[in-house]
């Protein structure tokens, strides 16, 4: 039995590495996704282009502008001379924000009156606008404090709120994204490889030939899934190594636990891959099936949008998504250093889901054979 499974696996690896289309899927996809998520897909707001409409032209207005620039969050794109330029620059998307300092700003400050500045944001991308707005607020408040500091009476009771982000103190989106990349990449690669490899046997007629050999369905399923599990692990390590050493993602938790959880995760992923293979006649169909599952699985996993914000019915649906559990686990291990005491509910759910999916697929697979 083990000999036959071993031979199935050897054959599978021969085929994978000889297939010119498969090699890029295994080696290039993970690295490409990592680069995209590590560099390009960032929710950090930096270098917001800013136009300055300074009507006051005073020492104070220049100081405030300087503070915007020095923060690193804003970059002064240009200075505006005429009011219609404000609208124009925002309309054409040349700048994301306009800092408008009205005449009398410095005079008001000197008189101790409430001085006002206006910052206009392009709200098309609401997330970025919100984040940039909060930065602008902080800069202006900071400036106000530096002015008021010596003059403010000590008697005025002040509440000083300081937010500190735990686990990811610098709030780098990379730290959040790279573990996510590992999760979605394992899913994509294992789904694709499993479903296509099984369907390919059917397409080229070798499935029929295998059926007349003493090879048992269980041996065939194991021989068809273990190679892709190995590739899944390989890609997990590849992305982890690149993530830790290139993107300096901290890995707080235990590596063996990560391996164990990946194994549990693979159970569902390979099960789904196998399932797709039982409903597909051609490799194209298998590929379509994979993406039909994959796209909603990502959107409804909490990778990009918090599950708590989804409609309740959809939230229940996410319980059937293995990615949902694995994201919590892998982010917990990477960023928080969580162990089994905290992660066990996710691990258990993932295991139950995986066992169920695998059983259904294996039963369907048997049926298609006989």
């Amino acid at each position: 039995m083990f000999e036959r499974i071993k031979q199935m696996m050897i054959k599978e690896f021969h085929q994978i590495f000889r297939d010119k289309r498969m090699r890029p899927i295994i080696f290039l996809t993970p690295v490409l996704q990592l680069i995209i998520f590590g560099y390009a897909v960032t929710t950090d707001v930096n270098n917001v282009s800013l136009a300055v409409y300074d009507l006051d032209r005073s020492y104070e207005s220049r100081e405030l502008t300087r503070r915007f620039e020095a923060s690193g969050y804003f970059q002064v794109f240009c200075s505006i001379e005429r009011p219609e330029e404000v609208q124009d620059l925002l309309d054409r998307g040349k700048v994301l924000a306009v800092l408008q300092i009205d005449r009398g700003f410095s005079a008001d400050i000197k008189k101790g009156k409430q001085a006002e500045v206006q910052v206009l944001f392009d709200g098309t991308d609401s997330n970025t606008a919100l984040v940039a707005m909060s930065y602008a607020n902080a800069i202006i408040t900071g400036y106000a404090k530096s002015l008021g500091g010596p003059h403010v009476r000590a008697s005025a009771a002040r509440l000083d709120v300081r937010a500190r982000a735990w686990y990811n103190p610098a709030l780098r989106s990379k730290n959040y994204n790279v573990p996510g990349v590992i999760a979605i990449m394992i899913m994509l690669i294992c789904l694709l490889l499993t479903s296509m490899a099984v369907v390919r046997e059917r397409e080229i007629g070798t499935m029929e030939q295998l059926m007349v050999t003493p090879l048992k369905p269980a041996e065939m399923i194991l021989g068809k899934t273990i190679p892709f599990a190995i590739i899944g692990f390989f890609d997990m390590f590849l992305v982890t190594i690149v993530g830790v050493f290139w993107f300096s993602i901290p890995i707080q938790g235990s590596l063996p636990l990560l391996v164990l959880c990946t194994a549990i995760y693979l159970l569902s992923v390979l099960g789904i891959g196998l399932f797709i293979s039982t409903i597909s006649k051609t490799q194209q169909q298998a590929m379509m099936g994979t993406f039909l599952f994959f796209a909603p699985a990502i959107l409804l996993s909490g990778l990009m949008f918090p599950i708590e914000n989804m409609p309740v019915a959809v939230q229940y649906g996410t319980y059937l998504n293995p990615l949902r559990y694995f994201l919590v686990i892998i982010r917990g291990i990477f960023l928080k250093g969580n162990g089994i005491p905290i992660l066990w509910p996710q691990m258990l759910s993932l295991f139950i889901l995986g066992a169920a999916v695998m059983t259904i697929s294996a039963l369907r697979f048997r049926k298609r054979l006989v």
């Binding site: 007349v212 054979l369 006989v370």
Partner: protein, 309 residues
């Protein structure tokens, strides 16, 4: 449990929806026979093969292969038979040798016996020089021989070949049949399906199958004589037109056109002259005619047509 034949089939039936693919099949094949299942595409040949190889379950009926029941002992049957599907079942991205070794592993051929057996299989199939070549880079005929080598790696008692020469050039086909005759000498029972009637002539016994029903079984020679027909071959400049004219005449059972000649199946021998006469009366030129033995093709076409009436 019967033991007379290597293959014993009783009342095998299988349908897909409304379509009856195999209809109440009874058949017995003895050890060392080369049995040909002959029929047009869609007659149910592949379904019969799959049922006998125990990879598909029948709706009813039973069959024994080398003493094992297809209903209850599928796993034992798999060890006793070699099976080659229409598409050879090869991995095109593996080499010739890797394909053979892969199947040797699946059949658990012992490491001790393996080298000699592989060498012999490569030898008879003339594949020795191509050991390291990818199966996908072989010609159709070589693929077919490799498929056969893989199906024979565990020295099966019964060999099932489902249209093995479909799409293979004539020279390779002849080679292939030579190999099959060699196998017969080793007392392997061969059950082959084919749509080619020239191949059917080479079998020791054939079964004509049409729309899932086995119409007749006998040696090719006896099948040919089995129908009470007199066959005339008529040459005519416009064979198609002449054949059309002959169709309606009294005593004509069947007409089939072959290029510039056509065969007319007659109910009695004496009718030939009358047919020729009648054709001439209608102003149709006839070059020559002669009495011929009905070919398997004639018999087959006749049987199929009369079963459709």
């Amino acid at each position: 449990m019967p033991d007379a034949g290597v293959i014993t089939i009783t009342g095998l039936t299988k349908s897909f929806g409304d379509n009856i693919a195999v209809d109440d099949l009874h058949l017995e094949v003895r050890r060392g026979e080369l049995f040909g299942l002959v029929g047009p595409d869609g007659a149910g040949k592949t379904t019969i093969m799959r049922l006998l190889a125990a990879i598909m379950s029948p709706d009813s009926g039973e069959a024994w292969i080398a003493g094992s029941s297809i209903l209850h002992e599928g796993e034992r049957i798999k060890e006793k038979i070699g099976y080659m599907s229409q598409r050879f079942g090869l991995y095109e991205d593996l080499t010739v040798m890797e394909n053979i070794i892969f199947y040797a592993d699946l059949y658990e051929v012992s490491k001790k016996e393996r080298p000699a057996r592989i060498e012999r299989l490569l030898g008879f199939s003339n594949l020795t020089p191509f050991k390291g070549r990818l199966a996908g880079k072989l010609s159709g005929g070589m693929k077919q021989k490799l498929g056969l080598a893989c199906a024979l790696i565990h020295t099966p008692e019964v060999l099932f070949l489902d249209e093995p020469t479909n799409g293979v050039d004539p020279v390779s086909r002849r080679d292939f049949w030579r190999i099959l005759y060699d196998l017969l000498k080793e007392q392997v029972t061969i059950f082959v399906s084919t749509a080619y009637l020239d191949e059917a002539e080479r079998c020791t016994r054939i079964g004509l199958i049409h729309k899932g029903r086995l119409i007749t079984t006998d040696t090719p020679a006896k099948v040919r004589k089995s129908i009470p027909l007199s066959m005339v071959e008529i040459w005519a400049p416009d064979a198609r037109k002449a054949a059309e004219a002959a169709k309606g005449m009294a005593g004509v059972k069947d007409v089939s056109v072959y290029g510039n000649r056509f065969h007319v199946a007659l109910a009695e021998v004496g009718l030939t002259d009358r047919i020729i006469e009648q054709l001439k009366e209608k102003g149709i030129a006839v070059i020559d005619h002669r009495q011929v033995l009905p070919s398997l093709e004639d018999v087959f076409i006749h049987i199929v047509r009369s079963s459709e009436l």
